[in-house]
Symmetry: none
Subunit: 217 residues, 4 copies
DNA sequence: GATGAATGAGAATTCATTCAT
DNA sequence: GATGAATGAATTCTCATTCAT
């Protein structure tokens, strides 16, 4: 999760690149994907062309920012899977991922667009998925998690709570924990009522993350 | 819930207004709030200036469209409160409201922006809130709903599931029912674990719906 | 060859459209295809957006200008074919077409680019070609033109002289007539030496006019 | 015609200069004058700044490339004047010069711009002119060339055929020979019809090569 | 000397909003 | 009243040229 240090880059360029990425993270997080490159440039203290030297397209910059966030989520997943208690691990993972989402409007807006269709993002998504699956398996074995739930469901529920949290955060910081609590309670096996729809196929999940045909951008 | 019929309007003007609103609902639902006025005008079969005669600003038009949707949700609430079984009523209400949300990108994108800060919307929000409260009270009495949940929570949970549904809908239509199921299971009183945060104050809820200070547009 | 009068257009719009086209003809003629839309707008006395309302793309505007010139050439061809003397008609045609080319840098630069690949241009090109063929046939019959020359050759020779004329015009207006004279002398049948290459196929000619793979613009 | 070897240059600098010129020749030949310095730098395997160290301006680089081509044409002229048969020499000269032109988009686009206004180019142009004049004189004496033609005319006719060849080359390589044939037939004295315009003055020819006041770039 | 990096001045294009018919 | 037209302020992206290492 180290900030991508490119050793082939000159010192000043590396510094600028770091600044650009930091600025882009902030700006897109605050303003969403419609923020202009000029805003990023200003916050980074560089000219717009400097950004375009590193990122041929605004979307490339956005993608880099998103990748960084997904790296964070993957790292979070890694740590969560090390937890002794799978239920605790799951909550930890969801809570931390939600926090990352909530503080990044751009990330939320990008979810389910073509920006997610990059090899590195796929890799990370696979990794996250595997981690969740491992936690789920242990949780189910321990009788702490209902058995009809899949990793894909966890991703979607996480996204659901995060979306509500995003709206709520300015007015009631952290209030989304209530909703995560409700959802986690809904994941218990005791008295669980059967789910009314089929589980998501992998293709459906992928399509949800990338495919969004609206907004081709 | 009749489309606001303004009796002072000439027949043709009234017809145009109706067309404009219908077109705007469709266009913003499909394309989101970034859709252009020109698109709306074209679908309505009127000139752009005709729209601006009725709505001084694009945001005014958006607000009218949103108001309409909230009217639908209020109407849905009214019907739901008539249900004999409060738990069924609650599910019905949430499911129908989610459906409304899911099929309107513009509505989702607008939630929590200044566009919601209109007297009529407040009225309707109050009405919806009251309906949910009534259902909740009956549900709690019947032992079907946990007691630490408020109407504000239901709104937010509804928005949460809707947000996930919005992403998922193209790839897996209706799949969001799974997540509503999970949430509803989480609302049962049996074995409910205490919620980790305070309930939302009314001010916080209002701020969540309107306040979003980012995105001044 | 009337300036495309669109009767469906409001008076002011028609006036602006006319101005835009006139300005575009002048500006592209003087500055070449790299002239900016802003230059055209300024000369036309309108805003840049007004141009983009009529022409979705700079290339569309360029295409309209080019089409106009080719119309002029087609009209010239029509008149030339009415000449009693085919040799005179041919000279008349070539001379007038060269004049049109010479006073339009944009036309010269566009020749052989994708801008020529439009149905209307193809039609006009066919018409010009047919006219030249008719003149050639009559000229050959009359013993005034060598028999191994085709209409495609005439187009290319015309373009050749025009290219030289373009460079020469500012310094020596009309001097290109000398070179047209030489070429026409080269077209006489008496003592004509055999041409060293095959005649152009239609496909080759078309490719020369449109195909230019360099400069995809 | 050795590549200008500057003895004051360090070995590596000399090598870079050579590479830059070679790359520039290729790039401008293929892409035309709008090719970017970055493209040249990349092909040369040097940084852009290295180019600007040697050539204060893009135009200076272009000028150097052009000079090189004119050197080639001058060399060609020299060889052509050694031909026993002046008509053959003339054809040889024109054909080879046309080939040089045709394979260099940049050269064609630059012809007649301020880039030609350099002492060395003037020298070379004089040399070429003298060579052509010598050939013409011998040709006229031998009755192989019409007497009303000047060296300036030959330059322009050459440029004319080259321009057509440039457009035609991708679709029909070498087809321009047909047009050179026609022009050469037009240069024969037998039955030559009087030329309709005055001969070019030297000033006019110079202006044609350099003067093009449009396109200040 | 050499180079990658930085930049500012455009260029095309879009869109909410105001005007003239 | 209705409408198409006009516009100016953005926005993304390019490139010759200058700077810092």
């Amino acid at each position: 999760m180290e900030t991508t240090a490119n050793p082939a880059l000159r010192a000043d360029a590396q510094r600028n690149l770091t600044r650009i990425l930091a600025a882009a993270r902030e700006v897109f997080a605050e303003e969403g994907v419609e923020a202009s490159i000029a805003q990023v440039a200003e916050r980074a203290g560089v000219g717009t062309a400097t950004i375009f030297r590193r990122f041929p397209t605004k979307d490339h910059l956005l993608a880099a920012v998103i990748e960084h966030r997904i790296e964070e989520i993957a790292e979070t997943t890694r740590r969560a899977t090390e937890s002794k208690d799978p239920a605790k691990g799951l909550r930890q993972l969801m809570a931390r991922a939600i926090e990352i989402y909530i503080h990044d409007r751009g990330l939320c807006e990008s979810t389910g667009t073509a920006l997610f269709d990059k090899p590195r993002i796929h890799e990370l998504a696979d990794e996250v998925n595997a981690g969740i699956e491992a936690l789920l398996a242990r949780g189910k074995d321990a009788g702490a998690v209902r058995t009809d739930i899949t990793a894909a469901d966890i991703s979607m529920l996480l996204f659901a709570v995060a979306s509500a949290g995003l709206k709520l955060e300015p007015a009631a910081p952290g209030a989304w924990h209530r909703y995560l609590d409700v959802v986690l309670d809904g994941l218990r096996p005791e008295g669980a009522r059967p789910l009314s729809r089929r589980v998501l196929t992998r293709a459906q999940l992928d399509a949800a993350w990338e495919g969004c045909p609206q907004r081709e951008r």
